[in-house]
Amino acid sequence: MRFLRGHRVLPVILLCVLLLIPGCWSGHELTDQLIVLGVGLDKVGDQVRLTIQGIRPEAAISTASSPSGSGGSEQPPFSLVAAKGDSVQEALQKITRRVPRFIYGGHNQVFFIGESLAREGIMPYLDLFARSQWSQEAAWVVIARGGTGQELLTTTNLVAKYPSMGLAETVRAHQVDIPTLFQFLLHYHEDSGAQILVSAAAVKNQTAPPGYQMEQLRLQPNAIFQGDKLKGYLDDSDGEAYAWLKYGFQGTRFSFPVSALPGAPVLGVSLSSAPAEFRILSTPDLGVGVEVNCNFSVTEDIPSPLNSPAAIRALENRLDQTLSQRFSLLFAHLQADQADVFNLAEKVHAYHLALWEKDKGRWPEVYAQLPVEITVNCHFRHSGVMSKYPGFKE
């Protein structure tokens, strides 16, 4: 090291270190990549079919730069490649051999999982992605209701160029909460092991005039999972009620009749709240307390019922009752399915250890019998820029 004394070689060593530290090894040019946006997983016979939807960057660039926006080509700017195999790895290997590009998974947005595969159990097929260094755990897990993951990857929508990106835009615009692969793993390891995943189906907007009936993904939080297996679906009403309890109302628009009488006028409200609070009651028997506190504003009232404080209180009570009924129905269905999707098992475990130790082996049966006490407190806040129905005239 004597020669280093003059420190002439030090900058060279430093430069060598700098070259090595960033680790830019085997780089791939953008145009040599197939950037994965969505992955479809389906069961076909005894094999798994892997479908990859990827952007061809050069196609995306030419589409963006063309004046018409179409790029002068009728081809979609994304590629769809699929292969079957005994494992996901084998199918991926086949795709890799077939596609003369580097398949980059770091931007994957979603896993669309076919229903038949979901019923069999999805963990063995997500294993490869959960271990991936490309942060695939941030991608959404969506179940293709009554169909295949591949079908959902081919959904064409005029507004969204890529189906997977269209999903991302829908999620951002409508504040939809879709569990990610990481969240799925997290809930899988919870005491209850049950959770609700989002299902999707490609539907056409039939009410639009011909030529404008865009295909779109209809997302609903209704796929009941026990462990890694799909057990069934909640109906639309229950799915909505589940999302309200789990994620809060988040500006939900909701209409309900102002009274129980037939033909009663319908009132539109916009609700916001934090997620519901769950408590385990133990006096005298084990039970569940669910508390929902929400604020609402009136968005549509025909005719205006809000002409006095008493009318407001009556409306609040009516909304409390309506929501309570919805939540009670949801719990009745969940208990019938023995699906503890709110992970009440964890609360019993944490707050009543002796009871948990006694009953953990038969928790689904215990859960099915738990009395549920639902408390909803709705508070009226405002009615937009008008205090009364604009058609009101004395």
């Binding site: 090291m1 004597r2 280093l4 030090l10 060593i13 430093l14 060598c16 270190v17 090595l20 530290i21 680790g23 090894w25 085997s26 260094q133 942060s135 755990e137 941030a138 990610t180 990481f182 793993l185 997290l186 390891h189 919870e190 964890e346 609360k347 475990h349 944490a350 707050y351 250890l353």
Partner: protein
């Protein structure tokens, strides 16, 4: 470097990342696997026991603080046994170097550069550590002062981010798996906390006014223990023990899951970069003092001439001594702790304690 050049603050700044840069990466997996919900309690227990170990270390170094390690042992145990003990300490320092270089490289490879050959990453870290050893601890500690605040901040940041969706109930009933599991889970964190014993190498370089009473070591042990516990709590409230135990680097997964969307994307990389810098500092420390002591034992005058062959040898050993990251995980979590605590971190300082008391009595120091 001339002895007595490092201030107390610089030494504290060196020792905290020294312990934490490796203690927070692979080690939390051990208490999570063994103590389950009681992982945080294992970490607290390790901190408590670590303070006890620090007492013996403080006693060991506060006696004749200007002496180098081997010289100290020669005075205490006689020439032959003292030299062997000094050599054992030095070899453990190299053992630690080999483990840490592999651990830091695996962190980079598994998480960020999967296609880059491991040789290249270990070579990068080795070169940095060699350069650090060449410059000496004074330069390394000055560099460390720049990184240290951000290094500490990363723990706080991760914890605060974990507070967005905390599952506090994951911390409850820590003794559910039994006190035996909590104790078993404490060994790995304790052994990496016990690495503070490297102060025996560093103490002659501490400024003379602070050599006699290195009580700040208690503060370092407590600080490192608390941050380690905070790290495990962050993992538990974010991943739970069930999922947390599956990851090779659980805290990295916490960072990834918390910073995976939108504007925060990539923040985990920044945090990991800081930790890799902590690892590089630690490696420089280990290489510098290990070679320094080897030179002292074998009477080699120019320590710098050993940096290149030494660094290369240890890099090769780090690559060849363990085939896979699973082996490394096993060694760092379940083998090295017992080996280290059974020798230079625990048993030797404890056994030397009566001898030091005897000497102090002779010198009228008690």
């Amino acid at each position: 470097m001339q002895p007595g050049k490092l201030s107390k603050r610089q030494v504290m700044g060196l020792l905290l990342p020294f312990v934490l840069s490796t203690d927070v990466l692979m080690i939390p997996g051990a208490p999570l696997e063994l103590a389950r919900r009681g992982a945080w309690l294992s970490s607290l227990l390790a901190t408590f026991l670590g303070v006890g170990l620090t007492f013996f270390i403080v006693k060991l170094v506060s006696w004749q603080p200007r002496l180098r390690v081997t010289e100290r042992f020669r005075r205490l145990l006689g020439r032959g046994p003292g030299t062997i003990t000094g050599l054992v300490f030095t070899l453990f320092i190299f053992f630690s170097y080999i483990l840490v270089i592999r651990e830091g490289s695996e962190l980079v490879r598994i998480s960020f550069l999967p296609d880059t050959p491991l040789d290249v990453i270990t070579a990068g870290l080795t070169l940095v550590s060699m350069y650090g050893a060449l410059l000496g601890m004074e330069a390394v500690s000055r560099f460390n002062i720049l990184v240290f605040p951000f290094f500490l901040l990363s723990f706080i940041l991760l914890f605060l981010a974990a507070l967005s969706h905390p599952e506090w109930t994951n911390l409850w009933h820590p003794l559910q798996s039994g006190i035996g599991c909590v104790i078993a889970g404490a060994f790995a964190p304790l052994s990496w906390l016990g690495e503070l014993v490297v102060i025996v190498f560093l103490i002659p370089d501490l400024s003379p006014g602070e050599q006699g009473t290195p009580f700040f070591l208690f503060f370092v042990t407590l600080g490192a223990g608390c941050l380690m516990t905070l790290n495990i709590v962050t993992i538990q409230i974010s991943l739970g023990w069930g999922l947390g135990q599956f990851y090779t680097f659980p805290i990295l997964q916490v960072g990834r899951s918390l910073f995976s969307r939108e504007s925060l994307r990539g923040l985990d990389v920044l945090i990991m970069t800081l930790w890799v810098m902590g690892v590089a500092t630690k490696l420089s420390f280990l290489l510098y003092y290990g070679l320094h002591e080897i030179c002292h034992i074998f009477r080699v005058r120019n320590m710098k001439s050993l940096i290149l062959p030494g660094g290369l040898l240890f890099q090769v050993l780090s690559l060849t001594s363990m085939d896979s990251v699973k082996e490394l995980e096993y060694v760092t979590r379940y083998l090295a702790p017992f080996l280290a605590l059974g020798t230079y971190e625990g048993i030797i300082p404890i056994l030397l304690f009566p001898l030091i008391l005897r000497y102090l009595k002779k010198e009228g120091g008690v």
